[in-house]
Symmetry: C3
């Protein structure tokens, strides 16, 4: 596998401390030609599923041979294994805690997962609290400069996959959930475009969250009047609930603390309704 020289970084380290910069210093020390792209460092602390979703959504827009470094690592210093994996032409490096679960599950292509054990590719001194700097960043840099993953440890066949509730059909309704609120207050669900085909093939669908009901799918935000709630298939092929020129997160009748994880129900709209 050729390398692109690119390394993406996704962490929950925030942007006030020097943690991310230290990782970049380590990377540039090992591989001065690296080119780095921050995905985000604002993942909710310890929120593995949130980061897994972002990594999954982001990686296909990068050239093959890119290394995607993910450090959401609440179990640092404990039992969880450090891993690197290769799938669909991309490399992923981070803790084996489910962060790469969706990549492992969803992409139909060969996968190889390596338990990182070869200390030759780590920093000489390993702390108990910052493996992002001492294990994951140096391993990512070595992979980006062309080292084969296979030299870095043993292949494993049981990587951690987060058990998460998936959208399911029940009678004539499809039940999913809100998995993320974006910067604009848009509600991103786990329901994908193809799961909606049975509902849109012959007529209009209806989306319900809390007590709010939205009829039909809009094509884009400005299809509705300013301030109106709408649903659409977003740029990542997910069902999204939005407000034209506003924040859907402030409009649904759900306890604000509980928006993430709240149920989204899709049905065929009854004729004559509305």
């Amino acid at each position: 596998m050729k390398r692109s020289g690119l390394i993406t970084l996704t962490t929950d380290f925030g942007i006030r401390d020097a943690y991310v910069a230290m990782m970049k210093g380590v990377i540039f020390t090992i591989y001065p030609q690296a080119r780095l792209v921050d995905v985000t460092h604002q993942v909710t602390p310890g929120a593995i599923a949130e980061a897994a979703d972002l990594i999954m959504e982001n990686f296909p827009y990068f050239p093959q041979g890119t290394v995607h470094l993910g450090v959401i690592d609440p179990g640092v210093g404990g039992e969880r294994r450090p891993i690197a994996l290769c799938k669909a032409g991309h490399f992923f490096v981070g803790p084996d805690n489910g962060l790469f679960g969706p990549i492992i599950e969803d992409y139909q292509s060969e996968i190889k997962v390596i338990h990182l054990t070869n200390k030759q590719y780590f920093l000489p001194r390993i702390s108990h609290t910052f493996h992002g700097r001492e294990i994951f960043a140096p391993v990512a840099a070595h992979i980006a400069r062309g080292v084969e993953m296979e030299e870095m440890g043993e292949e494993i066949r049981d990587p951690e996959i987060l058990r998460h509730r998936k959208p399911r059909l029940k009678g004539e309704a499809l039940y999913g959930q809100i998995v993320r609120i974006d910067r604009f207050g848009n509600l991103i669900t786990d329901i994908r475009r193809d799961a909606l085909i049975p509902f849109t093939r012959s007529g209009m669908l209806r989306v319900q969250v809390g007590r709010v009901k939205i009829h039909g799918l809009s094509r884009t935000y400005s299809d509705k009047k300013k301030g109106d709630l709408l649903s659409l298939i977003n740029s990542s092929d997910r069902l999204e609930i939005a407000v034209n020129g506003g924040r859907a997160s402030e409009r649904i009748e759900v306890n604000p603390d509980e928006v993430i994880g709240s149920m989204v129900c899709v049905r065929k709209a009854k004729r004559h309704s509305r």
Copy 2:
């Protein structure tokens, strides 16, 4: 026009989602040698005038041949045109919604504006909600690697210019407004250095915002005592109201929600006043 290889990015996408990273992945896929500089991704969602001001202030510090990508695009998927333009040796790419209005209006040099229509320079699949990724990022990358704008669409002569209130003289007073509050709580106005010459030529000026009056222009923040309000010509040649070691935004007697847009009045100071 030679290219610098640099692309700047100004958006309202925030730093929690993967939207900006996806744009960067697209750019590096098309032009691996690109060098990217984030101006900000914290523009108030949909605030075109705010971003226009930042782009205008920032671009002259970059080498000629730089591409300035701006994506504040509340009308994405609607009627507004995607454009690229070249002025003063710099390239600008984004939606035709006024974002580049000040560039178009203020710089006395030849301008060429292209309505981007040639799909060869877009991503193969265009969503209705994220043209930053599918149109503007790839076009910016292609321009940065040397493609001529003229190959990307048709020249237009009616680009959108935001109609905004401009500073105006009325009797012996100059009326402007506060257009931005910076990180330090400094109040940035739309009044430029040269507009103040008539007021400073023969004596002292007086600046009024709400009920607060400031006499004279300071040279720098520390010219006044800690905690004192002052006005000065800032590093972008604008009249700015500040507090030495404090936040002017918390000191003027104006409703906090209405600071931006509030009137700033400049007069000659009366003798004996103060």
Copy 3:
């Protein structure tokens, strides 16, 4: 001294304005091959000691020959001198206000400090309010591309060192303070690993902050139960107070506004205690 081509940036400019981007534009204009790493731009406005701590913690992870640019400059336009210095194989550029005090004091290696006076290495026009752009960024770029510091001004022997309270032994107790709260709510103290040796050599230590007492040092966060307070030596060899899966900053019985600067006391634990 060979150069790495890397420049790190630490400022209090925030991420909403274009100040940082302008500095980067200036750097790339002078030295197009520069590679830039943001440490943080979220330093509390004017907080020199906070930034000094971050720069000190971060720089050793970068290759020698890197330029570390720091702009926390509340006295801009006043008397404080602009300086560049070289120590331990690294370069540092910024205002002479104590920002590099810990570097100057703590590293046992030769040091050279230059008062930057040679305007040939500045931007042609110097404002009174933004020397980061007009002096520090261009000087950093020139050093990164290989110019000798000695050509840029006169050597000085009295650089500013922040007088700060240091950890001290008093009877059988060591008194330090909390100097920073990180993204995870961890409390970073100024007590270093080696200062704790007398307390850990023969038995267990006890850490006290406010009325909270913690017995013993944990190895990593997950050594204690979820929600339990703990103390450990962190990845920067400092004593840190943390909560497994929580925020220590919300758990200590100290006025939230006064956490930074609050006293931390280390003693030998009494036998039978607990």
